[in-house]
């Protein structure tokens, strides 16, 4: 005991600070190498000149951003007009990702609530069951979804056999199919953080609300939701952000008409038809958008945290 105390006393704040620097080094190295470097490269590439068979010429140019926002006619000599093509793709992506997030919340929240209100012993089993489908590769899951949803696939056959519909309903190659795909791809990212915060929720608060004359709905709205808000926001970010940049679901389920940012970017780097600086610029614009959204959320969180703190 005495020895331990002596050692404890000899470790000064300085030593801790030094130890912290060294301990954090691997984390910084990984972050620098795998996050900052690629992002930096993208940023640089987005300001270079395109090489026609893919790749770049090391010459500064704003052409990529110009192409994204402005239409200067076929030969590039007309007065610049706003180019809506890419802005529309971005807008559609935000819309699709937003709807997928709303769907995940509507399904994910009750699911998380259900799990959190089970007896403590069976909760891990439910969480495990939720994650099982996600052990399978995303590509395979998305392809199987395409198979399930197609016009003469099992879903339509089932619906027709029970007489709900007489003709197969077209789901594949619609916006809805993309939303469904995104929703299914990222659902656990909603369920898990919401579950974590509902599990920590003190259910006596709901009893107190009922005792103080609140209906079930009011209790949900005025007591449960505000209390578990951090988990809900985390879930929404975790579904929205990857949905926004996703290209598998839009490609496989949405077809050419329902193109999203992810596919647009992917295409610029595929084969010789691509345009690297343009792809990099689109990626940078996407990244800035995500950062702005995250900052708005963080700002709000900090504000409500300060109020509560």
């Amino acid at each position: 005991m005495a020895g331990g105390a002596a050692t404890g006393a000899s470790v000064t704040t300085d030593t801790y600070a030094e130890a912290r620097t060294w301990l954090l080094l691997p984390a910084w190295a990984v972050l620098g190498f795998f996050v900052l470097a690629p992002v930096g490269m993208m940023l640089v590439y987005s300001f270079l000149t395109k090489e026609f068979r893919g790749g770049v010429i090391w010459e500064f140019s704003l052409a990529a951003y110009d192409q994204f926002f402005f239409d200067r006619g076929l030969f590039g000599d007309e007065a610049p007009k706003i180019e809506w093509t890419y802005i529309n793709i971005f807008w559609r992506s935000i819309w699709q990702a937003g709807l997928a997030t709303v769907m995940s919340l509507l399904i994910g929240f009750p699911t998380a609530y259900f799990i959190a209100t089970r007896p403590e012993k069976v909760r891990p089993i439910w969480v495990f069951l939720i994650t099982i489908p996600y052990w399978v590769n995303l590509l395979i899951r998305t392809v199987s979804m395409k198979f399930l949803l197609r016009d003469n696939g099992p879903l339509n056959e089932f619906l027709m056999s029970v007489g709900v519909v007489s003709e197969p309903i077209h789901i594949i190659n619609t916006n809805f199919a993309v939303q469904l795909g995104l929703f299914y791809s990222y659902l656990p990212f909603m369920v898990l953080p919401v579950y974590a915060s509902v599990e920590r929720y003190n259910f006596t608060l709901s009893e107190a609300a009922a005792d103080l004359y609140a209906s079930k709905w009011t209790t949900l709205r005025r007591v449960l939701l505000p209390t578990v808000k951090p988990g809900v926001i985390a879930g929404c970010i975790l579904v929205f952000v990857p949905s926004l940049g996703s290209f598998l679901a839009p490609d496989l389920l949405g077809g050419a008409k329902n193109f999203m940012i992810g596919s647009l970017i992917e295409e610029q780097f595929k084969g010789s038809a691509g345009n690297w600086p343009f792809g990099a610029a689109a990626a940078m614009i996407l990244l800035s958008m995500v950062l702005v959204i995250l900052m708005v959320f963080a700002r709000q969180q900090a504000k409500s945290g300060k109020e509560a703190g």
Binding site: A210, D211, L212, R222, T227, S304, E307, A308, G309
Partner: protein
Amino acid sequence: MAEARQIAIDVRDAVKRYGDFTALKRISLSIHDNEFFTLLGPSGCGKTTLLRMIAGFEDVTEGGIFLYGKEIEDLPPNRRPVNTVFQNYALFPHMTVLENVMFPLEMLGKGREARARAGEMLELVQLSQFANRKPNQLSGGQQQRVALARALAPQPKVLLLDEPLSALDLKLRKAMQIELKHIQRETGITFIFVTHDQEEALTMSDRIAVMSAGELQQLGTPGEIYEYPRNMFVADFIGETNLLEVSVDAFAEGRAVCHLGGGHEMKVDAVEGIGVGSKVHLSVRPERLFLTDEKIDPDALHATVLENVFVGTNIMTIVDLDDGPNFTIRAANSDRGNARVFPEGSPVFVNGDRGAARLLVD
């Protein structure tokens, strides 16, 4: 006087079962209007269960609960004019103190007067200056008072309090006991107070229901419960007592002559249902006994001092009746009256007031 009063809560033959475990075994009790009523009993005896049944959080397996004569079984908690002060306060963490107190008023559609009324309630519990704080910026005692203000704000007919003071330190607890009693008198609301602290129950209550293992043991005023415990459990649980097994030898002048063993006898007020020859239990309160070195009272018992224990306000003396049982005697730590400390080993006489000893019916 109590008979004339209206009954606020009437629990009739209430049974509560969880699976095959019976938490409450056919409890019947009536709580009067404006009464400070306490449910007292050891941990796990079913106090919270009964309270939650009145609040509507648990359904009644058998029997019924009536609020001013109306059966409330079918009313969900948010439709019962009954409020609860929860043991862990259950304040809404994202709302300020004022918003917490305004909450029930808004729920009742009294949004317009909510702010003013909530302000009054905070004044009542002396927390006006904390109105805009969040609950986690308050001490335990302050949170406790917010919970009280919040539950009182909608002017419930009955207020349920589940061990509201158990998380507070002794000093604050005593202060809150007085404050609670005060508020109850001022508002005239019926309080049903749960505690496992017998001293707290005796200090605060108009009437006490002593419970054990899901059963009602005795119901009465603090004086009745303390002076006339009905059974071993009550005598032992409330205050301190000497519990003795005795046999009733005879009756003289309305008093039962009890044989304590070793030839010692004690005269005790007779109780209905206990006849000559019964083997029963006797409860003798230590503070109603006193020691003398001469036999002044002819009924005094001869004994030897075994041990003196100093407990601050009192001195506890343990004596051994010659060939008989041991007794604990408690004397005030004072130079007045009969209080006198006899050294260990000295021969003494044990005297008692008329009401010192009670026969226990069951």
